[in-house]
């Protein structure tokens, strides 16, 4: 179990972390979600001792992390990187050995991972000779090659195509199923929604909401409804229901949680004639907006403006 409590970090005037806490459990996937500039990378770096914290604690299995324990961690930094001129296989073998594996064991693990990711033939090719997508796979392998107990991935889905996202999700699920603790960050909340088992939502260097995916969704006061009246007839929504958009007769609505499905239907289509109706939990970005009071996009724009000024 990885526990971060009250992590605080200032860079001069800038508050990067303002008391972030999170708990990640073995065998589960934790999504660490929030806009860019909300302190996700700093938090993850803190797990590897790459940040001198002003306050707060990082604990693994109930105690401070030792160097030996940290070698059983796998890290995929936001800024991807491998030695461009070094061949894939030897590079993975080297990284495995730096994490404490014996030579033969490291060699076998490097071959196994390259095979698994479909790059078995490229063992002796330099990383720079690989396509961008394949370089990403080797990068993932470099975080996994030593079979880590804790896997920390900073924005693992950024820059991946849908196939890549699916493949990455599959690998992360497998690792968690095999008992590893998996923490990944993302600012694309809706992209990773279905993957998360646990969620921590962070904004402004502080965790704002944490729990299982269902708990987090339940914390929102709104749900999503989707309705199409017969023949795509126009809809006149009641004043307490917000229309998000209407496309080809399908209206997407934001409705209060305490509004019962039957009551909602009655109010939207008193005369009946409903072609399609769905009531869903809120999306994570919706939850984010409810909890933080601003959308992910707004906060990122604010951070960019600050950085530019």
């Amino acid at each position: 179990m990885l526990e971060l409590t009250g992590l605080t970090k200032r860079y001069g005037e800038v508050v990067a972390l303002d008391g972030v806490s999170l708990t990640a459990r073995a065998g589960r996937l934790l999504g660490f979600l929030g806009p860019n500039g909300s302190g996700k990378t700093t938090t993850m770096r803190a797990v590897f001792g790459l940040v001198q914290l002003d306050a707060g604690e990082v604990r693994w299995h109930g105690g401070p992390i030792t160097a030996a324990q940290r070698r059983r961690f796998g890290y995929m930094p936001e800024q991807r990187g491998l030695y461009p001129r070094m061949p894939c296989g030897p590079q993975l073998r080297y990284l495995a050995r730096l994490h404490g594996m014996a030579r033969a064991e490291a060699e076998a693990a490097a071959r196994r991972w390259l095979d698994e990711l479909g790059l078995g033939e490229r063992f002796d090719d330099a990383v720079s000779q690989l396509s961008h997508g394949n370089q990403q796979r080797v990068q993932l392998a470099s975080a996994l090659v030593h079979d880590p107990e804790l896997l920390v991935l900073d924005e693992p889905f950024s820059g991946l195509d849908p196939l890549g996202v699916a493949a990455m999700s599959e690998v992360l699920r497998e690792r968690a199923a095999q008992g590893a603790t998996v923490v990944f960050s993302s600012h694309q909340l809706d992209l990773v929604e279905e993957l998360c088992e646990d969620v921590v939502i962070v904004a402004g260097g502080r965790d704002r909401l944490a729990g299982t995916l269902e708990q987090v969704r339940a914390s929102s006061e709104h749900r999503r409804a989707e309705i199409r009246l017969t023949g795509g007839r126009a809809l006149t929504p009641p004043p307490d229901i917000e229309v998000l958009d209407v496309r080809e007769g399908v209206a997407r609505l934001r409705v209060p949680t305490d509004l019962d499905a039957k009551e909602l239907l009655d109010r939207l289509a008193p005369e009946g004639g409903v072609e399609r109706f769905a009531l869903q939990p809120p999306s994570l970005s919706q939850v984010f907006r409810d909890v933080v009071g601003a959308s992910v996009r707004d906060l990122e724009a604010a951070v960019d403006t600050e950085a530019a000024s």
Binding site: G49, F73, G81, L82, H99
Partner: protein
């Protein structure tokens, strides 16, 4: 896994990486070829055996002049061939045509185009003087045997240096240059590798992956071990190649280096290289591209070249001067200065000892400081100045 194993693992990778680097291998090879060529080629244009001076002779010369002259020239690995000429005019013509290199006129004048060769001039004078002296002594009734023992009465003088140990003479001079030049070449040759190595890790972002498992000081120490070993290997190849080539062609007499000179030179080259290597690695970590590195490494290049120049133009001409003494005790300059002064026999033992201590301590401190600066620079984005990196916060 102990830090030592981690460091060895990293150093192993760094070493292999350098050995697979074409620029390093070809650069070393090219330098070796140039070095060997510089030794071999001049010997191809040299006459084998002793140099022969053609000396014209006009008028009477003392009996036994020719053997006496040959004895004088023997020490200079030369001999003389005498040609009798009719008169002054014939001598002038022969000299002018280059038939003879000089002409001795009536055992009193030596005629040459411009100045006669110093060696020949001295030998002619010496031979004439000796013959005159022998003549006088014989006239005074001293027989030939006694004469021989009088003339060879004393051994060559022994040189004593009031400044300290006896110098190594010309050989020491060569060695003094050799250690200083080798250190300079090693830094120039490898400084860029150190820079690009650190930049590659930083710009490819692989360093953050590495830092998930190892500490910055592991990386820095391993780099220093790898590059210092390679630089020493390179120096060994150069020295080996030079000595090997010389063994074949016999271009020069190998200076009889004393173990003391060699040991001090080796120590100073190792420490000096490590000192500059640590700073070059920091300069590399401060840059985010090779172009940046020209700026961050600028002060180091200035320091190295400046020190080298000062040693060549100030220390070697005046090895016991005040400046030489000051430079002996400054860690960046001592490695260039001390081997030169030791080889020239121009440094008391206590100065060597104090300088070694100061330099070792200074380098140890520099490596520690470099470790801190490296840790501050390596994860920072963009290009840093030395002032910024000094103020930046190091990671563990």
């Amino acid at each position: 896994m102990s830090p030592a194993r981690t460091i060895l693992l990293i150093a192993g990778r760094e070493t292999l990486d350098r050995l697979r680097n074409k620029a390093f291998v070809w650069g070393t090879g090219a330098t070796l070829v140039v070095l060997i060529a510089a030794i071999v080629i001049p010997t191809l244009f040299e006459d084998d055996g002793p140099r022969t001076y053609d000396l014209g002779v006009v008028g009477a010369i003392p009996d036994g002049f020719e053997p006496a002259l040959d004895r004088e020239l023997e020490g200079q690995d030369a001999d003389a061939e005498l040609t009798e000429l009719d008169d002054r005019a014939a001598a002038a013509a022969a000299v002018e045509d280059g038939e003879v290199v000089a002409a001795l006129l009536d055992a009193r004048e030596l005629m040459a185009r411009d100045l006669p060769p110093t060696t020949l001039h001295a030998a002619v004078d010496g031979a004439l003087q000796q013959l005159a002296l022998a003549d006088e002594l014989e006239r005074a009734g001293i027989d030939e045997q006694e004469l021989g023992s009088i003339l060879g009465a004393h051994d060559p003088v022994t040189v004593i240096d009031t400044e300290g140990d006896a110098g190594e003479g010309d050989a020491g001079f060569v060695l003094a240059f050799a250690a200083t030049i080798l250190l300079f070449v090693a830094i120039q040759f490898n400084g860029n590798s150190l820079l690009t190595g650190a930049i590659e890790e930083k710009s490819s972002r692989v360093v953050e992956v590495l830092l998930g498992a190892v500490r910055p000081w592991h990386l820095l120490t391993a780099k220093l071990i790898a590059l210092t070993s390679l630089a020493l290997g390179q120096i060994a190849v150069f020295i080996g190649g030079a000595l090997g080539a010389n063994a074949v062609v016999g271009a020069f007499d190998v200076p009889p280096a004393t173990p003391r000179v060699l040991a001090i030179s080796l120590l100073m080259v190792v420490i000096g290289f490590t000192f500059f290597a640590a700073l070059y690695t920091v300069a590399g970590a401060m840059a985010s591209s090779v172009e940046d590195a020209q700026g961050t490494a600028g002060p180091l290049a200035f320091l190295t070249v400046g020190t080298y120049m000062v040693v060549i133009f100030a220390v070697i001409p005046s090895p016991t001067g005040l400046l030489s003494q000051i430079l002996t005790f400054l860690p960046p300059t001592a490695p260039f200065t001390v081997p030169a002064r030791v080889a020239m026999g121009a440094i008391p033992a206590w100065q060597v000892a104090v300088s070694a201590l100061v330099t070792v301590a200074g380098t140890a401190l520099t490596i520690r400081l470099a470790g801190r600066l490296y840790a501050a620079a390596v994860l920072a984005g963009g290009k840093l100045t030395w002032r910024a990196v000094w103020r930046a916060e190091p990671i563990r």
